[in-house]
């Protein structure tokens, strides 16, 4: 069973909550799909067992010994990536989308494509199971393909090790990497916070989840920062047939847990927030049973 934790808005506590879920269950597979800012390895310090290169896309480069500056590529590029800089044809690495059209039409065969191969996927063991995480190299397109690779790997290990639960820590936003994270999972947990921004982002996130017909749950984290908006969020969930899971209070101890590289259940087992999380996970696990 895959449980994906996402948030829409960043910084709502998504990673702390997925880390908590990962240590509340029996052995799990933990998949960190926030490949643009993978953080869970900091808490869990997994062993380094396997490393795989992820080829994200391609970039065009010019061989100036062949290029005679005809400028045909400049007129064909739709990404404004090729221009004359000091009257010399130049490709901007930042803007190049990797479509390869310039390379195909170049009459001098001066343009070739190189693979972006700096992104990696790691597999290892942590204190409560196995962990898979991706690290996207800076500037790469986060198309969701690396997310898919992490999820596939997690599923393969789950089968081989006979572990039932996969906890996925998802990326923020509503774009492709989020869609790749939630497609086909059994449960999506959206972690939000009681602010106008949180509510705004939650609405866009729920829209995505309903497109894919997923069992969706909402947690309001730091609920006491604005009880009024917390109520609004809960009402919104009820009126949209979204399962409301729980409210978690703001507690500075949660930050301390992180600083001590511990999860909430490990650092503060007797706190109210841990009981609420335990209960929440139980509700998800027993849903439909």
């Amino acid at each position: 069973m895959e449980i994906a934790v996402i948030s829409g808005k960043g910084g709502t506590g998504k990673s702390s909550i997925s880390a908590a879920f990962a240590t509340l269950s029996d052995k799990v597979i933990l998949a960190d799909c926030d490949v643009d800012a993978a953080n869970l390895y900091i808490l869990f310090n997994p062993t380094h067992e396997e490393e795989q290169i992820y080829i994200g896309g391609q970039k065009a480069i010019i061989d100036y010994s062949k290029c005679y500056n005809c400028g045909l590529c400049v007129s064909y590029c739709r990404f404004d990536a090729i221009s004359f800089v000091n009257s010399k044809v130049t490709i901007s690495e930042v803007s190049c989308d990797g479509c390869k059209l310039c390379s195909r039409i170049c009459p001098a065969n001066a343009i070739s494509m190189v693979n972006s191969d700096k992104s990696l996927m790691y597999t290892g063991t942590f204190r409560n199971g196995k962990m898979v995480y991706g690290r996207l190299a800076p500037g790469e397109e986060n198309s969701g393909k690396l997310v898919n690779m992490v999820r596939d790997k997690a599923k393969t290990i789950a089968e081989a090790e006979n572990i039932e639960t996969i906890i996925i820590d998802g990326p923020p936003g509503i774009g492709c990497p989020v869609i790749s994270t939630i497609t086909g999972v059994e449960h999506v947990v959206i972690v939000t916070e009681p602010s106008m921004s949180g509510l705004n982002d939650l609405q866009r996130t729920i829209e995505i989840c309903s497109k894919f017909n997923l069992t969706t749950w909402v947690i309001i984290n730091k609920c006491d920062l604005n009880p009024e908006i917390s109520n609004k969020i809960q009402e919104f969930c009820l009126s949209h047939n979204i399962n409301f899971l729980c409210r978690l209070p703001f507690d500075p101890e949660v930050v301390k847990a992180m600083i001590n590289k511990k999860t909430i259940p490990e650092y503060m087992p007797d706190y109210e927030i841990n009981k609420l999380l335990k209960n929440a996970l139980n509700i998800i696990m027993n849903y439909g049973r």
Binding site: A37, I42, C99, R104, P172, E207, K211, L225, N226
Partner: protein, 289 residues
Amino acid sequence: MKIAIASGKGGTGKTLVSTNLFYSISKQNIKNCFLVDCDAEEPNDMIFFKGKVEKTFDVNQKVPVINESKCTYCGKCHEFCNYNAIFILPSAKIIKVIEDLCHGCGACSVACKFDAISEKEVSLGTISRFYFNKSSTIVEAKMKIGVMSPVPVIKAAVKETGNEGIIILDSPPGTSCPFIQTVATADYVILVTEPTPFGLSDLKQSVDTLKTMNKPCGVIINRSGLGGNEIYDYLNQCNIPILMEIPFDKEIASHYSKGELFVKYKKEWEQHFISMFNSIVEKYGNSSN
């Protein structure tokens, strides 16, 4: 001059800084002051302002349309497409464009020798321009849900400013494509972080990325007092200036949650933002893009 407000980790306070900074300097007599919300997946800046919409327009991308009466199923377009967006089964005379995978590069049209490919426009999102006061404007980039990449919408929003005056870019989180696209044009980058292990890890990634791009940057530590001291050691070691520290303060959090600008209530902060802005302009305002 363009100043980008960025952070690796989501939810550290980019929008808090962008909106309060823009509001503070918009009261100074600066000709052409812009705030551009480049977080196109989840734009939230307009929650904090009342502004009249000056204009709204769609950002479009071209996708191919195949005229099957002319198509010979030669497969050349499929071969030219570097995104696997054209599916072809010549034996069964099936050809399909998978619009979600298309980047609109136009390679298929170039490939087709039978004039069987035309193009249509599909919307990727919208740009809205809001009047704030006679010298200040807010531009919002909003990606359509389900679209592959926010980059084209971000590019269009930045272009809308005309590239003159003081331009504040509220960047998307992470260090992948959308972030690079936003900061690539900036003269200076303000990184907003929080003093937690996750915050520090993502900050390091952002700093490393900016270094390879040769972008000068400074750091604002948000929610200071809530975490540890590691971040100060790191910044000290790397010689990165701390531009401002915003303490963890329930009052600031509460204003933010309600969609209010905290500088309106804590007047001394308006001056802090203006001083910070002035010293950045003094030092970096004359560099070209």
